[in-house]
Structure formats: structure tokens, C-alpha cells
Symmetry: C2
Subunit: 936 residues, 2 copies
């Protein structure tokens, strides 16, 4: 039996799929191994029924033969090639070497794995002194004549270099000579006659270099080209590339010989690109552009403006109809939106290439949903088609991509800080919260730019469009509060030099003043001068459908982190099935409450402390009422006060500065008073002294509360274990609210979460005290609330002793932010700007740049380290309480890779900020679909 | 066969040990179960051949019978009691109820487990209206007559309350009436006749309350008393106690009936206490005191001054000889120094009680060593007899215990801070390091009292006797440096109010000035006003011998933490087998080096940075030369720079204050200048401005380096990974020193330790860079040094991924301080004064005081949490590198309980401060002897 060394595109697919049906990935791999990636692609496209410029592929096994025989084409190969080529010639009514109807060919390499640019390619094969005239004669324009001769000279140059091994520079030298003679600078300025003389010079060059004429026999051209492609498998470049990418050197390359078609022959010819659906909106419509009388390179060159694809219907109705039909075929075959290149040669449509089309999030969602509705893909596949991370574009304002790119080109990018809270915002700079509040009230759009923010600034953060800080990390006050508000924030712009007194911001060599407009992208951390157009947020109809399919898979529950009734409602709208983290401290940060909170902290005796707590109680209760109402029927996990108390007080450094200044001022007033005897100065001194005494007292208290490492200081449950009053007040507020709301007919499911537990006694003791309060309140109100007590697992020791802790906890919520901090020993605020950035970008290791960490562990859960602790905790917890409810709160709860791990661990839910809930719902479904083992 | 319900003391022991030989703990337990703790003790003492007041014990099984029969004494019991009692009567020539020679008895409870005070006791049983006269007649003094009647009234009162159930208050009421009548206030002021009338009143009271007379039949008294003791097993107090202590309610109590002997009968009678060896020095000599004509209570009352036991030899030579012989018996039987109580009745010696004698550390060591030498105990037992923690008393100055107690009684204890570095020191207060240096140079003994110390203070710490700080924890600068210097330090005396400008210290309502003397105890954290006598440090001859025995057991190696050649020599003297932790940063803290270090940190360009490093290199090399010479032949583990760089710079807060003050001063000078037109003030302003600019620049740098949580910031290996220069300089210094020392004939074994590794890449990359420097230096010098590279395991993630890390580490050293901090999420500096103190002392949990943590995890390794991580790390490390060297550095390395865990984990060594090396050596041997399973 004759060995099959060549396949026509149209027959190759049937060789692997005799029924012509879709193939699986193993078969596709085998096909690629035999025909190379390119040959297999063309075969599959051909088999899908679309019109591909016909051609054939010489197998990789032939390449093996070539090398086995010491670099000689196997006997009979060229006969087979000729045989198949005859079919091609028949289809196109052109023939290789026929001057009256010349067939031109491309000869390309193609290995199983893509090796872009590493091996050789020859185009326009088949041209010689006669066929070039025939090509020119195919059309009657001067442009076409120029095209023919340009193609011929390109062919000689490429063939000369690749096959005949003449260095490129020699050809460039000749071309330059012609350009000099023609007194032009660019190739495009040369005319047909110029190329005729280039061809002359090239042929002379070939003769000089090889001692023979440029081969005029087109069959000889073909054989030589095929051999050159085989040879190029082992050129040094290709070997180096395979070594680098660990590709087997024995695979060999296939050779694809394809007919060339011309979109520049007449008015019924053209070339274009199109998407099978709109990649911006996802609508099922042709989207693209084309040019008549043009080759692909003309479109790229941009000399003529292409026409919208919609016009094709008028200009070439038959071609348009064929294109529409082709699109349907390709989508059905490839089961995805396709980005295709096509050429029309004298009214005949050829598809040159098709691939999955890039699309934005809106389009991705709509395409996936509609394809599922059309039956092209399954719902599960639709879910898998959308990158959850891209959904943020659909949920929050973002800048128009092109507008942002233009702004960058214009040099308007001022800085890139930390992407602390996503969303796009445009506004006028203000440097202090009072101005922000005042101008915000007037309806001005402002962006608050601060060195860093503190609880005193809240009233200025609320009305601002966005927030920028020069210092502080992803967990700084600004970042946390902004995320909580769903407000764009860029933190830690270290290059910002802010002068609060002068009200100026210096950055990137420019100075901005109060009122200057900037645009900030909280999703990327970019800050721009001036205003940038925002993109429209599309309707959520398709997304809602996709997410409802996702929810049906029940990967794992998605809850939201929400601290206010507004957030709770938003979370529910976004599809959260509960609140996974309600941070009660944020309730104390509002300006009027902060004053009471400070009074409570600074109280000198129990009575005044309790009085302040009594004032806080109804405020906190009101918040809980709102949250419970919003979450009727869904669980609400409430974390008791967590941060150290000094976070509610003025900053130590500022107080030190104030006190020093006051002291110096008093000294001045006194000595000035004595010197000048001015009654004015002496009369002022006592007031200053009163002020000093007050500030000094506050400083003493703040100093007393300040800590070297507040992250690991007196916070979390430690606060309540030393002084239970605040927690008792909080639990009272929670249960009073729960009883009230429940007695109005709603179902309230509070889950009280005690933070920062590291030892079972901490939980057991705190719970004992607080559950008593809970029972008291329920008995006072005569209402029974279904409640749970549980804890955060955020201290490594809690994870290590989870079996002990679970005896007192009805649920665990992994506080992966702090757990990551303590497991790595990374203080996030300090790490991100001081060493973690270096770790992620790469550090110098003996001259090589190496990344210490592949991913930021605060963005994506560190499965190898933190994940091990989580697994210990989950196993430990289940060992004593099999059904224990497990969840993640913290930023990892919104990260798809981390959600996949959470699914694998068998967690019940993840919790994330409201805007990330849709992302997490989709990621949860994908985790389920990925089919990983799930612990229970 | 008759059921044996009673045993004479002299026969009980043989029941369990028919040969009368020593018994094992199982047999002792069985004996205690049958006879109760008290009965078993008396039986064993009796069996040892010493003369015990004779008596008998009724078994616990009899108690069961009593309850089984519904609260009735078993038939035949009293006959058996009478039978045994006859033996006792014969021995003493007295009889129960015999007025001419009355025998008095004590009747006591005694269960298997001690239940102090929970059950009932009756003394002086056997007294009645007739025998009281007989007792009085035994001696002819008025005191004795008073004693007899007082004994009778006490018996009626006790019997009345316990057996007849008459409330105590009724008796007290009668006694008060007699005292009122006699017009005295105290019992001791009553005479014999007064007690006669008390007895009358008591008998009348009994008649009123019970309707019958107080029982005059002594046999009836005895039966009733025995029954009452059985009954008291189930009184509510006893039941509660057993519930609380988880003691089985079915055990029952035994009843011990013992004859009472009298040391107050004549001049040949007396009572005393003595130790079988000197509990202060350990010398083999009688140590104690006695009184003639006295009962035990007379010694306690302290009315007469007891005599030294040495005088007994003159006064009663026969008794003295018997006492000496008894002592030898008791020591041989109990195999330990005994603390005994004895009574001499008319020339006859009775031993009332013997128990292991309390002793100080000096005595404990000498007694253990000498008893081993005498063959009484084995060397292994000797090792087990000394609490390693007590050795510190033998190694560092300490205050005389009595002198300290007196100082406390005198109200001189001012405060108790953290026991940051052990040892006792006395000196005059100085408030700043300059004064300390100046006065120290003059030879004055000073104690440096500071708010907290910083590297700038070192020159004042060196000459100080001790250091006290008002702020800062066990790992504060003062604490760490003082421990390194072996200098007493009390840190974090939060009640200290220091006014540096006024040079005063206010505490405990007193004000101390510069030059006032205080005494500090670094082992306890106590601070006293004035001077306190110190105890002498005994010779180390016995200790050296004990430790040499300990070392022979090869529990695990003990290395020392040492940063200087002096420390290294000291460590070697104390028996360290290497240095486990040499903290290189301490080498930069000396004053002249600090300036260079600061220059390096503040350098604006690479060149000046390198210039500073070039200056530091020879300094650091010289230190290593000294250390390597001192440790010739032993390994030296050197930790590369660990703390964040801001620790070498002035403190942020101080700079803020300075800058604010300077700013205000400039403002003053300017406005003052304008106002007054004084040339003086204007001429000063520019200087201030220069100063301000300089401080502002420094402030900016310090602010840039400052961190929110420096413990988890840019420190450890993170420093070197971002900027390798410092570490490269350090490794160069180490290897230059190693090559130099080795080429002079010593053996140098450096182990380079990279700190704070959490991810394998950190170690791999750092090692790659540093090992290259090491190889370069060795090649330059042409010397080959046996070196190792390894890492600290102090970040939880390192423990969790130890298998990965071990691929690049030849050793692990557990940095248990930081590992504890991060595993618990406790910043030690913040925890100790802010919540950990509450956790350890107990917090209020619904009205009950409960301890959250039993032990301070920074003092004693938390086996349940941190220990789990350590086990994971040890297992992980060994899984890829079976022989990996494992050790602990950090303070746990000197804690016996932690050393026991280290032994169990199979670690190769622990490392601790030089002064704790002997403690660790002993603890290591004890760990080995405790026979726990050891991982390998």
C-alpha cells in the first residue's frame, strides 16, 4: 500500500473523524501531531464546510523520513504532492506555473506545538518571469501590475534567503539602490517599473551568490521550498526554542502548501475581518469591516478607510449571504464567537483564518447566554465561558478602554497606586474632608486626596466620588472604608507629594491645585490628569440569567460583607444568600457616633463609660434593625468589635506635634510677654495652657493605648475578655434588634462571631458571658431568636487547635486576611510597598530577575501555606462537630482561584463585598464544574 | 477468719511489704487506699524503725461497711480496736480512762487523697472529770494544771461540735462569758481555775443541747468519735471538695487513732523541729531548734526563744544520739533530706512527722550530689532532685531571702515590672546614659532608669549595675541588650512616672531623685527603695559534678546565645557545646558603630552606602574572629541582620516633637524679631532653620522606614532580598574571620542562619547570593571552612512548608519567640502589659475568676499550638533531609518544660543565654530521664 504522506485539507479531517463529526481533544492532538497545528486547523476549518483556499499538508512523518534519509525528500513524495495539487488546481481553475492562470502557493511549517516565527515560510511560490506577467494580467490596473512585480520580488527575496541561504542584507542593499535611483524613501513610493528593476537586480544577486539562475521551474521551486521547511525544524533558533519550552525534538514539522487567493483583482474582490457576534455588546450581528480590491496588508496599512461589514449586503449580496451562512457554520463547529479573516476573489468567499474572538465582559456574558439558548453550547459551558474577574466591568463604572488608552498616550497617567476599591471616578481635587463635605453638599463632584485617612475624615469620604491616599495599604482605613462604601479608592500613591497647607499635589513633575480635575481607576490603581470618558454599564438581563444558572449548580453559597442596611440591601440585590461579615466597628465610625465612642474610651470611671455605652446602644440597635429587615430569612454573621481602641482616637503622631507646638507657643508667649510687656500676649497664654493640658491628657491616653504592633495587640476578643462592657452592649443591641424585627414577622438568623480567637478558653469564656446577655434579652422581650455563636479562624493557633475550639463554636469563618498576615508574618500595610512589591516583580538573584512569589497572597489564597492551615482547621472542626458551618470572609472570598480552593475544602460559603457577589457566584459554579474533589 | 479492720502502725507496713523492704508506688497507693494517706504515712514511718507515738488505723473498707449498714459501726469493730489499743497502752504504760496514768488519743480522718480540713478530727480524747485530774498530776507546776484543764475544755468543745453537733458559737459564747468575768481579753490570760469554770459551763451546755451528760465513759467517747469521722466523709463540704477535685466518692475514709505524747511534763521533756541536713548549705549536719517543757504550740506561739539543736547534745545526750540515729534511718528510708517534728516525753524521743525538707538551690545541689556519693540515691535520682529553674540562684547574684522579706515588710517594695534579665543589683538612680557613663567611669554603682532605652543609650547601659524601664516588654531593647550583657533588668514598670527634665522618679507615692539608692531583682521584677543585702554565691564544686553527671546522659545538646567574644567565652565556661544564636545586629549597636550604621542607612547613593559598609566590615570581622577563637572546635550559628532598619535610627516620635518645637521656635524668633527688632533673635533664626532642615530630612527618612507593625514588616531575610549589600558584607566578614582563625590552627564551624523565611524561594534566593560570597572569600584566602546554611523556623508558613524549605536548609533553628508571637497573634511587647497579664491572672467570667492561659507562652512553650507547628516542621524537614540538624534558639531554650518538649521532638540542641546553660543542661538530662518517646 502506498504510504500516505500528503492530505488535502478537505480529506484530512475525515481521516480522523470518518463521520465528519466533532472530535475530542485526544483526536485533535493526534491530528496536530500528524499535520501540525496549522495543517490540523485548516483541515478542521475545511471540514466544517466553509470555503478555505484549498491546499494540502505533508505529514510530520514525512519530516522524520527526510531526516532518516540524511536530509533527502522521500521518493514518491513530490508525485503525491503533484497529485493532490492537481485537485487544488482543478478547484481554482489555475495551475502552478501556468502563465495564463497562474496558481501561487504558500509553503509553511507547522508543528504539533506552536513555535511562532522559529521555522521558515515561503509565500508567492509559483512566480517566475512568465507567471508574473500572467498574474499582472489578471487585472488591468496599474496597481495590479505593481502588485504582481512586488509579489515576484518578495518571492525571490524570501526564497533566496530561506532556500538559497543568501543573507537578507544583500537583498535590502539592492532594494535601497533602486529607491535611491528613484529618489524615494519608502517602498510604497516605488512603482511597477521600479519593481521590475528590483527583480532584475535580485536575479543577478542570486546568480552571483549561488552561481546559478533563480529557478524558473515552479515544481523545482516547490520541492526546494518543502525541503527548506523540513530543514528549518533543526535550525538553531528552533532548537533553542524547543529546549526553552521543553518541546520534544523528535516531533518534526509538517508542511502546509496552500493556494493563495487575491482580494485585489477587481471590484468583486476584497478582504476583511469580522466577528460572528458583536464583541462589544454580544449582539448576534455581523461586526467587522472590509475593503474591496484589497489584500490583507492594505487593510493593515490603513491607507484606505475600510467599510463597515453591514455595507457588504448592498455591495455583494451573494457574498454577504455566504458569509452569514459561513459564520453560522463556524460558530456551530467551534461553539464560540469567532474572529475570522476572509478574502473575496472575484465574487468567491474564502475564509483564511478563524479563531475565538476576544470580547469584553458584556459581550462574553451575552454570547455565552445566547449560545446556550440557541443550543450551541450547554448552560454549564456558558458558565465556564465567562471569566468571573471580568464581571466587575459590568457592575461598577469603568473608563472607556479607548479613552483610557488615549489618556495614556497623551501622558496623562500621573501615578499607579494600590487598587484599593474598584470603580472609576472623576472629580475635582479637595485636600480635606471639610471642604469635601461642603462642596459635596453643593453637588460638586470631588475626589478627596489625603496623605492617609482616619475616622475623623468619614464625613468627607461619604460625599466624595473617590478617594486617593499617598500612604497606606490595601487594609488602610481609606481602603477598608471605601470598599465598604463601594466607592473607588486608590491607596498608597507613594509618589504623591501633598502639601495640605498650600493645597497642592505634586506628582510626575506637575502641580495640581484644589479644584483641578483628576480621574481615578480603583480597579487598576491608575490616576489620570483631567477627565476620561466612562463606559456604559450594560443591562444586567443576560448576567442575571447566567448567574441564575450558576446558582442552580449550588457550588457553594455566596454571602456578602455588609455593615449597613444599605449595603445589606445591595448585597441581597446582587444575590447574596446572607451576610458573612458585618463589621460592627464601622458602625462607630460615623462622625456623631465617633464622638460618643471616644467619650467611652476616654472615660475615667465606670459610670461615665457606661453612660457612653448607653448612648451607643440605640444607634447600634437601629443599624441591626435595618440589616435584619433587609436580610429577612437569611443569616447575618456579626463580628463583635475588632480593632484596637486607639483607632478611634486621634493619631499619636499628630498629638505629639500639637503638644510640642503648644509648649513652644506658651514659652514664646511668656518670654514675649515679659519682654514686651504686652497684655495681649499674656492674656493669651492661659488659654493655650488650658488647651495644652487637655491635649496632654489626651496624648497620655493615646500613648497608653498605642501599641508597637497593633495588628497583634489588644484587639478582637482580647478587648472583650479584659473589659466585657462593649461586647455586652453590642450583643444586647443585636438581640434587641433581632427580637424587635422578628416580632414584626420577619425571620432573623443572627450569627455572633467572636474575632481573633487563638485559644479555646478565649471563645468559651467570651461566649459564656455574651450568651447570657443574649438569653436575658430574649427573655425580656419574650421572643426566641435562632442564633449561633462562632468564631473567626484568623490566628494560626486557632487553626491548629480547631478541634478544641469547635467544641464551643457553631461555625468557623476563615478570616483569611489576618490569617495570611500571621501565617506569612507579613503586615500587609508594611509589606505591599516595602518588600512584597519586590517579591512579586522579581528581585535580583546573581544577575537574574526572579520572582519570590508568583501571586500576591492577599489577593489569591496561598494554598501551599495558609491553605494547609485552613485544611487542618476544617478537618479539626469537623472531627468534633461534623456539620460545622464553614465560610471565608475577607477579600479572598471574592477571588475566583481562592473560591475554587474554598470549594475543594468543602466550605459552605464565601463572603465578599457586595459588588463582588456576582463574581463569586459565577466562580463558585465554575469551581463545581471543574469537578475537583470536595471535602465534607 | 476474722476480718482485719484495724492495723497497728507497726504492723500495717508488713502487711504490704512482708520483708519490710522499701515499697514501690503501686504498693504505696494500695496502702493509702486501705489506710488513708495519714495512716499509711504513720505506718511507713513506724516501719522505718523510728519511734512514733503508737496507734492504730481503722481501714477504709470499714468505712464502706459503716455506710453499707446504713451508718452503723460493724459488729466486732470496737473489740478489735480495744485489742490493738491494749498494745499501745502497754507500750506507753498508760491506759485509756485510767486516772492514774491516763492515755489521751487523737482520732483523725484520712482518705487516699488529701482533703485538707474537709473531714473531722478529735484531739485529747480520753479526758473526763477524773482523768483530767490525773493529767494535771503528771507534773506539779501550775502551768501544767492549766494545761490539763485547757485540754479538757478543748476536748469537750471539739467533741461537742463534731460528735454531738452543737454549733461552735455556743461554746465561744460560754468562753467569752468567763473571759468577761475574769476581765481579760485573750484566752492566754485565763488561768487554771478559769478553765475549770469553762469546763463546767461547757458540760452544762452539752446537757442543755443534747438532754444528756457529756459522756464520761472513754470507750464510748472513742466509739462515738470513730463514727463521727466516718460520717464526716459525706458532709457537704467534703462532697463539694471531691466534686471539685474529681475524687471518687466511693473511696471512703480511714480513721487513725493515735496516742498523744507530751513535751511539757518535765525538764526531760520537750519538742522541736529539725532538718536532717542544712537546708541552706546542704552540709550534712543537724539543723533545727527545740524547747524543753513545751508542746508544739508553744514553739509556734513564740513566747519563749527556742534553742539551737546543737545544744541538745549537752542537755540530753542520749536523746541526741537517738535523734542522730533516727535521722540516718529516715534519710535511708525516705531517700531524701527530711524535715521532722519530734517530741521528747520524759526522756523518750517520739517522731511526730517527717517529710521532704524544703531547701534552697545550693542545698538542693549539695544534698543531691552527696546523697548520691553516699549511695543513698543514684546519680540519675540526684539529677532529678534539683529543679533546674532554681539554679539561677547559684549563678547570678540574688538578694538574701530574709533581707528581701524584711524590705517588703518595711514597705520598701516600690513596684513589680517584668523580670526581663535575672540578677540582683543595687545602685544610685541615674536618668540618662551620659550620666551613667560618667559616674560609672568614676566607679560609682548606678542603675539606669529610663522611659525606655534605644541603641543610643548603650554607653550608659554598659557601666550600669542594672537597668529599669517604664515601658517595653520582654523583647524591648533594654531587655534584649541586658540579657545579652547578663545584667539585671526590670522592664515595663508601668507605674513609674519619670520626669527626665526634673530628674525625678515618682512611684508608690514617693519621689526619688538622681542619686537615690534602689535595689532591683531582675529574676522577679521587683524594685525596692534603698539597699538590700545580697546572698552569697556558693562554690560551684557540687554543681559542676551534678552537671557533669547530667552531661553524661546526653539528653540533648545545650548551646548558648552569644553575640560577643566575651559572651562566647562565658558560654563555654558554663558548658555550652556551641553557639546557637549569634545576633549580628547587636554588633552594630555599640556607639561608634551605630554612627556608621546610621550613615549606611541614610546614604543617598550606592557609593556612600558601600563606603559605610566597608567601614563596618572590619568591625564585624573582628567580632567574629573573637567568637570563633573562643569557640574553637564548636559550631557557631550566626543569624544575619534581623531587625528593621528604623531600629538603628532615632525614634519617629522624638523627631516629630523636635521638628514641631523647632518650627514653633523659628516662628517665635521671626515674629519676635519683627516686633522687637532685636538683632539677637534674628541672628539665631538661620541656625535654627539649618537645624530644622536637617531634622526634617531625617524625619522624612525615618517616616519612610517606619512601619505599622514592624514585627511583620521589612526585616529578616526581607531586608537582604530587597537589598543584598548588608548581608553580603556580613557573610564576607564571617568568612574572612573564619578563614583567618582557621589558618591560625583553630577549627571553625560557622552555620549561617537566614532569618524570617516563610517561603522556600526566600531561602533559596538568599542562599544563592550569599553562598557565592562565601565561596569567593574562601577562594581568595585559599582556606576551606566547614560551613552550613540554614534558616530560622519562626514564621508559621515556614513550619507548614518545612519540606520545601529543607531542600535548601542544612539546619532549622526554631525561633520560638517570633513563632509564638505569630502563632498566637500576640505582639509580645503589647501583650504582656495589655492583656496577657489578665489572661494569666484570670478574668471575670460571670463572677468567677478564670485563667485564659495557664502558662505564659513566651516563658513556656505552648505545646498544644506552637508545638504542633514545630512537630509539623520537624517531620517536614526530616521527610526530605533525614539528618537535618534541629534546634531551638530563643528564650524557651532555657525553660525546663520547653526543653522536655524539645527532647521529645528529637531536636539536636537548645540554645539559651549563657547564664541559663547550666539550667538547660540539667533540664536536658531530666528530659532524658523522664523516659518520654523521642522522635528522630
Amino acid at each position: 500500500m502506498k504510504q500516505i504522506r500528503t492530505f488535502l485539507f478537505t480529506e484530512a479531517f475525515r481521516h480522523f473523524s470518518p463521520e465528519g463529526s466533532a472530535i475530542d481533544s485526544v483526536t485533535r492532538d493526534a491530528m496536530k501531531e500528524l499535520l501540525g497545528g496549522k495543517g490540523a486547523g485548516l483541515a478542521e476549518m475545511g471540514a466544517s464546510g466553509v470555503n478555505v483556499p484549498p491546499g494540502l499538508t505533508i505529514t510530520t512523518t514525512t519530516c522524520h523520513e527526510y531526516y532518516d534519509q540524511g536530509g533527502r525528500l522521500p521518493d514518491g513524495l513530490m508525485e503525491q504532492v503533484r497529485e493532490k495539487l492537481a485537485v487544488v488546481e482543478g478547484q481554482l481553475s489555475r495551475r502552478l506555473g501556468d502563465p495564463s492562470a497562474p496558481l501561487l502557493l504558500s509553503v509553511r511549517s507547522g508543528a504539533k506545538f506552536s513555535m511562532p516565527g522559529m521555522m521558515d515560510t515561503i509565500l508567492n511560490l509559483g512566480l517566475n518571469d512568465e507567471t508574473v506577467l500572467g498574474l499582472a494580467a489578471l487585472s488591468d490596473t496599474p496597481e495590479h501590475r505593481r502588485f504582481a512585480w512586488d509579489s515576484y520580488r518578495r518571492f525571490i527575496q524570501m526564497f533566496g534567503n530561506v532556500v538559497l541561504d543568501i543573507e537578507k542584507e544583500a537583498f535590502e542593499h539592492e532594494l535601497s539602490a533602486v529607491k535611491a535611483h528613484a529618489q524615494v524613501k519608502l517602498d510604497s513610493e516605488l512603482g511597477a517599473e521600479d519593481f521590475v528593476s528590483v527583480v532584475d537586480r535580485y536575479k543577478r544577486l542570486v546568480r552571483e551568490k549561488t552561481g546559478g539562475d533563480f529557478p524558473q521551474d515552479t515544481s523545482e521551486q516547490l520541492a526546494m521550498a518543502i525541503e527548506a521547511v523540513f530543514r528549518s525544524w533543526n535550525n538553531p533558533r528552533a532548537i533553542f526554542y524547543r529546549d526553552l519550552n521543553k518541546i520534544d525534538h523528535d516531533l518534526g514539522t509538517a508542511v502546509t502548501v496552500q493556494s493563495m487567493v487575491f482580494g485585489n483583482l477587481d471590484d468583486k474582490s476584497g478582504t476583511g475581518v469580522c466577528f460572528t457576534r458583536n464583541p462589544a455588546t454580544g449582539a448576534r450581528e455581523l461586526y467587522g469591516e472590509y475593503l474591496t480590491r484589497a489584500q490583507g496588508e492594505d487593510v493593515v496599512a490603513g491607507i484606505r478607510t475600510p467599510r463597515k461589514i453591514a455595507e457588504l449586503a448592498q455591495e455583494m449580496p451573494a457574498v454577504n449571504a455566504e458569509l452569514l451562512e459561513t459564520i453560522a457554520r463556524l460558530e456551530h463547529h467551534y461553539r464560540d464567537l469567532q474572529d475570522i479573516e476572509f478574502t473575496i476573489e472575484q465574487g468567491r468567499l474564502y475564509i483564511l483564518q478563524t479563531r475565538s474572538g476576544k470580547r469584553n465582559a458584556t459581550s462574553a456574558v451575552r454570547v455565552a447566554v445566547e449560545m446556550a439558548q440557541e443550543g450551541i453550547i450547554t448552560r454549564e459551558e456558558a458558565i465556564g465561558r465567562v471569566d468571573p474577574r471580568d464581571l466587575i466591568q459590568l457592575l461598577l463604572p469603568s473608563f472607556d478602554i479607548k479613552a483610557k488608552a488615549r489618556a495614556k498616550d497623551d501622558g496623562r497617567l500621573l501615578a499607579t497606586g494600590l487598587n484599593a476599591s474598584p470603580g472609576a471616578a472623576i472629580g475635582e481635587i479637595v485636600f480635606d474632608p471639610d471642604t469635601a463635605a461642603e462642596r459635596g453638599a453643593r453637588g460638586d463632584k470631588v475626589i478627596l486626596v489625603r496623605e492617609e485617612t482616619c475616622p475623623d475624615d468619614i464625613h468627607g469620604m461619604v460625599p466624595a466620588q473617590g478617594i486617593v491616599t499617598a500612604r497606606g495599604g490595601m487594609t488602610s482605613h481609606a481602603a477598608v472604608v471605601a470598599r465598604g462604601m463601594g466607592k473607588p479608592c486608590v491607596a498608597g500613591c507613594e509618589t504623591f507629594k501633598i502639601d495640605v497647607h498650600a493645597r497642592t499635589l505634586s506628582v510626575a513633575g506637575k502641580v495640581f491645585r484644589d479644584g483641578d480635575v483628576i480621574s481615578i481607576d480603583g480597579a487598576t490603581g491608575e490616576i489620570f490628569a483631567g477627565s476620561i470618558d466612562t463606559a456604559e454599564i450594560a443591562g444586567s438581563e443576560h448576567l442575571d440569567l447566567l448567574l441564575s444558572w450558576a446558582d442552580e449548580l449550588q457550588g457553594l453559597g455566596v454571602r456578602a460583607n455588609a455593615d449597613t442596611p444599605e449595603d445589606a440591601r445591595l448585597a441581597r440585590d446582587f444575590g447574596a444568600v446572607g451576610i458573612g461579615l458585618c463589621r460592627t466597628e464601622h458602625m462607630f465610625m460615623a462622625q456623631e457616633r465617633l464622638a460618643v465612642m471616644q467619650r467611652m474610651i476616654l472615660a475615667d470611671d465606670k459610670a461615665s463609660r457606661q453612660a457612653a455605652l448607653d448612648e451607643l446602644l440605640p444607634m447600634q440597635r437601629a443599624d441591626f434593625v435595618g440589616i435584619f429587615e433587609a436580610m429577612d430569612g437569611l443569616p447575618v454573621t456579626i463580628r463583635l468589635l475588632d480593632p484596637p481602641l486607639h483607632e478611634f482616637l486621634p493619631r499619636l503622631e499628630e498629638l505629639i506635634e500639637e503638644v510640642a507646638t503648644l509648649k513652644a507657643a506658651i514659652k514664646y508667649k511668656r518670654s514675649g510677654g515679659r519682654k514686651a510687656g504686652s497684655s495681649n500676649s499674656t492674656s493669651k497664654a492661659p488659654k493655650l495652657e488650658v488647651q495644652l493640658a487637655e491635649r496632654q491628657a489626651l496624648l497620655a491616653k493615646v500613648r497608653d493605648l498605642s501599641e508597637s504592633n497593633p495588628m497583634m495587640g489588644r484587639r478582637g476578643c482580647r478587648l472583650g475578655l479584659v473589659d466585657a462592657e462593649i461586647n455586652v452592649m453590642q450583643v444586647r443591641a443585636i438581640f434587641e434588634a433581632a427580637c424587635d424585627v422578628q416580632s414584626r414577622g420577619a425571620r432573623v438568623l443572627p450569627e455572633i462571631m467572636i474575632p481573633l480567637v487563638g485559644h479555646v478558653n478565649e471563645l468559651a469564656f467570651a461566649r459564656a458571658v455574651l450568651e447570657k446577655t443574649a438569653l436575658e434579652v430574649m427573655s425580656e422581650r419574650g421572643v426566641n431568636v435562632e442564633y449561633k455563636f462562632g468564631t473567626m479562624i484568623e490566628v494560626p493557633r486557632a487553626a491548629l487547635t480547631a478541634d478544641e475550639i469547635a467544641q464551643h463554636a457553631e461555625f468557623f469563618s476563615f478570616g483569611t486576611n489576618d490569617l495570611t498576615q500571621m501565617t506569612f508574618g507579613f503586615s500587609r500595610d508594611d509589606a505591599e510597598g516595602k518588600f512584597l512589591n519586590h517579591y512579586l516583580e522579581g528581585i535580583d538573584v546573581l544577575g537574574e530577575k526572579k520572582r519570590v512569589l508568583k501571586d500576591n497572597p492577599f489577593a489569591q489564597l496561598d494554598v501551599g501555606g495558609v491553605g494547609k492551615l485552613m485544611r487542618l482547621a476544617a478537618d479539626g472542626g469537623r472531627s468534633v462537630r461534623p456539620g460545622i458551618k464553614l465560610g471565608i470572609c475577607g477579600e479572598h472570598g471574592g477571588d475566583p482561584a481562592s473560591i475554587a480552593f474554598a470549594y475543594e475544602l468543602g466550605l459552605n460559603y464565601v463572603s465578599c463585598s457586595p459588588y463582588r457577589v456576582p463574581i463569586a457566584r459565577l466562580a463558585a459554579a465554575q469551581a463545581r464544574l471543574s469537578g475537583g474533589q470536595r471535602d465534607r
